[in-house]
């Protein structure tokens, strides 16, 4: 996993909480910084992709590891 500036543990949370928490965390970050989100909601895979497309933030990485989903989002 590449470097990141902040980490958000959204494990155990269901739709739409991972996205809402990610949005909140991103708003406190500076442009260009990277957020690492860990989630267990299987729906979050498609949702983070859609979130990035609609908000202009970049989804650098999306992968599953040990039953958890990891996302790296670069703030626009």
């Amino acid at each position: 996993m590449a470097n990141f500036d902040q980490e958000l543990d959204a494990t155990g949370l269901n739709c739409p909480l991972p996205i809402l928490r990610a949005k909140k965390t991103l708003s406190s970050m500076a442009s260009g910084q990277i957020l690492h989100v860990i989630a267990t909601d299987p729906g979050s895979v498609k949702d983070f992709d859609a979130f990035a497309k609609q908000t202009g933030n970049t989804l650098l990485e999306s992968k599953e590891e040990g039953g958890k989903f990891h996302f790296l989002i670069k703030k626009s």
């Binding site: 949370l13 269901n14 996205i19 809402l20 949005k23």
Partner: protein, 159 residues
């Protein structure tokens, strides 16, 4: 790019139907939408400070019932006193267990994200609902006010 707009009319006051308006409003706000929700009739229950939302299996054949209750419990049994409270507490327990947000939490997230919540003044008057029972930070207005926003919205939903 112009900010997109989502307008929602929330008309239902049960625990299950409380979710769609708040989930969609909070998510849209997170995606950068400007959002307004107009609460009318039973939807006004969703704006109470103290929420006492319940879910009923009555007249709702699509509701998945715990312990196969829909198989061995006749419809009349579901009308027994206390059954609605029981089903509601089972549903809340299930939601907590699955990491589903509470309505209070989603509503707070909406307010935090500047989602505008509007209570239908006509219904408030109709049911003699004291405004002191409603949360702060909401507006009281009528259909015309809603159309001012909804008329320019990209998405408009009736829930």
């Amino acid at each position: 790019m112009d900010q997109k707009k989502l307008a929602i009319i929330a008309t239902k006051g049960s625990l299950d139907w409380a979710y769609p308006p708040f989930i969609l409003a909070s998510t849209a706000a997170a995606l950068g939408y400007e959002v307004q929700v107009f609460f009318t009739f039973y939807g006004l229950q969703l704006l109470k400070k103290k929420l006492s939302l319940e879910v009923t299996p009555l007249g709702n054949p699509g509701m998945p019932m715990p312990l196969g209750m829909d198989k061995w419990f006749p419809v009349l049994g579901l009308a027994l006193p206390g059954m609605q409270a029981l089903i509601t507490s089972m549903m809340k327990q299930k939601m907590k267990q699955k990491g589903v947000a509470s309505i209070e939490e989603l509503r707070a997230l909406c307010l935090e994200a500047d989602v505008k919540l509007i209570a239908c003044q006509m219904t408030v008057d109709l049911f003699d609902m004291p405004t002191s029972e409603f949360i702060d930070g909401i507006e009281y207005a009528g259909a015309t006010t809603f159309f001012e926003f909804a008329g320019d919205s990209d998405i408009c939903l009736y829930i």
